[in-house]
Symmetry: none
Subunit: 193 residues, 4 copies
DNA sequence: CATGAATGAGAATTCATTCAT
DNA sequence: AATGAATGAATTCTCATTCAT
C-alpha cells in the first residue's frame, strides 16, 4: 500500500493542471507552489527538479490513463468490441480530464530528448495495446488484408486528431454520434463499392 | 519580382531548421545567428524579436506546404485521386523537409495563445482543403453515408500520426507501400463483411 | 512599527548614493548590487525594475528632506524666521547628504516623463511651502509690494543655485557667513537708496 | 570666414533640438540622422562620436547665447542697466529658443565627468559675466555691503529657476511684468524697513 | 562624400535552485 | 519537514559605431 503523502499529491495535481494548460516553459515553479499552497522549497523535497516533476506528472497521468483503458479493453471479448471500447474510453477520458493526456503529449515533444524517450515509451505502450487488438483480429480472420501497424496508426491518429480538435475548438467539436460515424467509417470504409 | 535578400533568407532557413529540430525554447537567438553565420544584431534588423522570427518561419513553411499541396490537388480530377494525391504529397513533403511542418505544428501548441491563433488559422486551411474534397465526393455520390467533417478528421489525423511517427521514430517508419495500405484501408474499411 | 528590512535598506542606500553620484544611466544594476553586497537578483525581489528602484530612492530622499524642513519651519513663529530657517536647513541638509536631493532633482529631469511628474509633484510641495510663508508675511504686512510667487521663485532659485554650485565646485563654495549675506541681500536688497 | 557646410549644420540643428527635448540618452543617433534627413553614417563624417556631437551642440548653443548676452550687456552703461539687460535677454532667449540652454545645462550634469568640465567652463563664463557687473557696481559704490559672488549666485539662480519653471510649467509661468517685480525685489529687497 | 546593413559589447531581467532558519 | 529570501547563470534585446559599396 502506497504511503499517503498529502503534500506530494497536492504538488503533483497542481503540476498536472498547470503543465497541461500552459506547457512546460510557461509554467513556473512558483506558479505550481502557489497553486498547491505549499512553499517553493517544498517542491524540492519531493522532486529533484522541475524536469523531474514534469516527468512524474506525465508518468502519473499516463499510467492512470493506460490502466483505465487497459482494464476497459480487457473487459471486452471481441477485437471489434475492444476497438470500440478504446474509442469510447478515449472520448470519455478526454471529456473528464480535459485532454490533459493529449496536451501533455503535444507539449513533451517540444522539450528535449530526455523527456522524449519517456514520451515514446508511453506512446508505444498505447500503440502496442491497439496493435495487439488488430493482430488478434487478423488471427481470428475478421479483418481484410490490412497491415496491423498501419491500421493502428490510422485508428489512433484519427482518434487523437478528433480529441485534439475537440479540446482546442469546442465550437466545432465532434458530436456524440460522431463516434459511431467514425467507428463505422474506419471499419467499413468510406467509399461505395 | 521580390527583391532577394540573402541575409534574411539565411536567418529564416536557420530558424526553420533549428526551431523544428529543437523547439522554440531550446533554440537560442545566438544559435540561429551562429548557424546563419550572421551577427546577433542582424536578426533584429529583419525581425522585431525572437517570437516574430518564429512566427515568420512557421508562416513561410506553412505557406510553402499549402501552396504545394493545393496545386497538386488541383491537378487531379476526381475526389479519390485528390485524396490519394494529398496523402502522397504529405508523405513527399515530410521526406523532403524532414517533417518541419509537423514539428512546427506540434511545437506551436506549447507556446502561448498569440501563436495558437496562427496555428489554428493554418490548420483550418488544411482541414478545409480536405473537407471540400469529401463534400464534393458526397455530391457526386461516390461515398457512403459519412459525415464529411468526421471523415476529414479521420483522414488528416491518420496521415499526420503516420508522418509524426515517421519523424520521431525513423527506424519504424512506414514503408512506401504502406501508403497504399493506408489509402485502401481508409476507403474500403478494415473489416470483412 | 515598520518591519525592518536590512537587505531592502542596503539596496536603497546604495541606490541613493550611486544614482546621485553618477545619475540613472551611468549607474548599472550590478553596481548597486555590488555596492550593497547583495546578489543581482535580490534587487528584483524588492523592486520591480531599475526605474522603480530609482523612483523609490528619490521618493525616500525627498520625503526625508521635506519632513525635516517642514518640521523645522513649523518650529519658527514669524515669516522672517521661517525663511531664515528654510535657508539654513537647506544648507545643513546639503552638507549632510552631499547634495543628494539636488543631484537627484537635476538627474530626474533628464529621464523621461513618468519621472518628471514625480519631480514636479515634489518640487511643487517645496514651492508651496515657501509660497505660504510669503503669503502669510504679506497678510501680516511685513513685505513690500511683492508678488509672492516671484518672491518664492527668487528665494528658492537663489538657494538652489548656491547649493548646486557648492556641490559641483567644492573649492568655491559659499562660506558660513555667506548665508547671512544671502539672507540680508534678499530681504533688504542690493542697492543703496 | 567659416566654410559653409549644410550637412553639418543640419545635423547640429537636429541634435540641439532633440538633445534639449529628450536628453542625451533618450536621443538615439538614428533619431538625429532621421530628423536631419541624412544617413546615419554621415554623422560620423562630421563628428567623432555621439558624445562629441553632444559637446559640439552644447558649445554652439552656449557660445551663441553668451555672444548675444555679452553684446547686449556691453551696449549698456551702468551696472544696473547691465543687470536689467541680463535679465531681459535671458527671458528673451528662453522664449525664442525654448529653454534649450537651460535644458542642456540640466542634462549635462547627468552625463559623466568629461562633459561636466565643459559645463563648468561655460557656466563659469556666465557667472564671471555677472560677477564683473557686481564688482564694478561695488567699485562705483552703488551697492550696499554685499558679497559680489553671493549676489551673482542669487541673481543667476533666481533667473534660472524662473526660466526653468516657465519652460516646464507653461501654466504657471512668470508674466511679463514679473520681470520688473523680480528685478526690483532683488535690488530693493523684499521687506519693509 | 554619403550611406545604411552588419555587428557585438553591454545591459536589464528572469527564474530554477539552494540553504539557513 | 517546510519555507521563502537570496542568488547568479543564462537569455533577450539595444544601439553606437564601422565599413564596403
Amino acid at each position: 500500500m502506497k504511503k499517503l503523502n498529502l503534500k506530494r499529491d497536492a504538488i503533483m495535481n497542481s503540476a498536472i493542471e498547470l503543465f497541461s494548460r500552459d506547457g512546460f516553459h510557461k509554467t513556473k515553479v512558483i506558479d505550481i507552489s502557489n497553486h498547491a499552497k505549499v512553499g517553493k522549497g517544498t517542491i524540492y523535497q519531493y522532486f529533484r527538479n522541475k524536469e523531474q516533476l514534469y516527468m512524474e506528472s506525465i508518468k502519473y497521468v499516463f499510467e492512470l490513463y493506460q490502466t483505465y483503458i487497459k482494464k476497459a479493453i480487457d473487459d471486452e471479448k471481441t477485437p471489434l468490441d475492444k476497438l470500440k471500447k478504446y474509442l469510447y474510453v478515449s472520448d470519455e477520458l478526454t471529456s473528464k480530464y480535459g485532454s490533459v493526456v493529449f496536451a501533455l503529449m503535444k507539449d513533451m515533444r517540444s522539450n528535449g530528448m530526455s523527456m522524449f524517450d519517456t514520451l515514446t515509451e508511453y506512446e508505444n505502450k498505447d500503440i502496442e495495446l491497439v496493435l495487439k487488438i488488430f493482430e488478434d483480429g487478423l488471427k481470428e480472420n475478421i479483418f481484410k488484408d490490412i497491415c496491423p501497424r498501419v491500421a493502428t496508426n490510422t485508428f489512433i491518429g484519427a482518434i487523437r486528431f478528433h480529441m485534439g480538435n475537440k479540446y482546442i475548438k469546442p465550437k466545432g467539436h465532434i458530436e456524440d454520434n460522431d463516434l459511431e460515424y467514425l467507428f463505422n467509417m474506419l471499419l467499413y470504409g468510406m467509399i461505395k463499392e
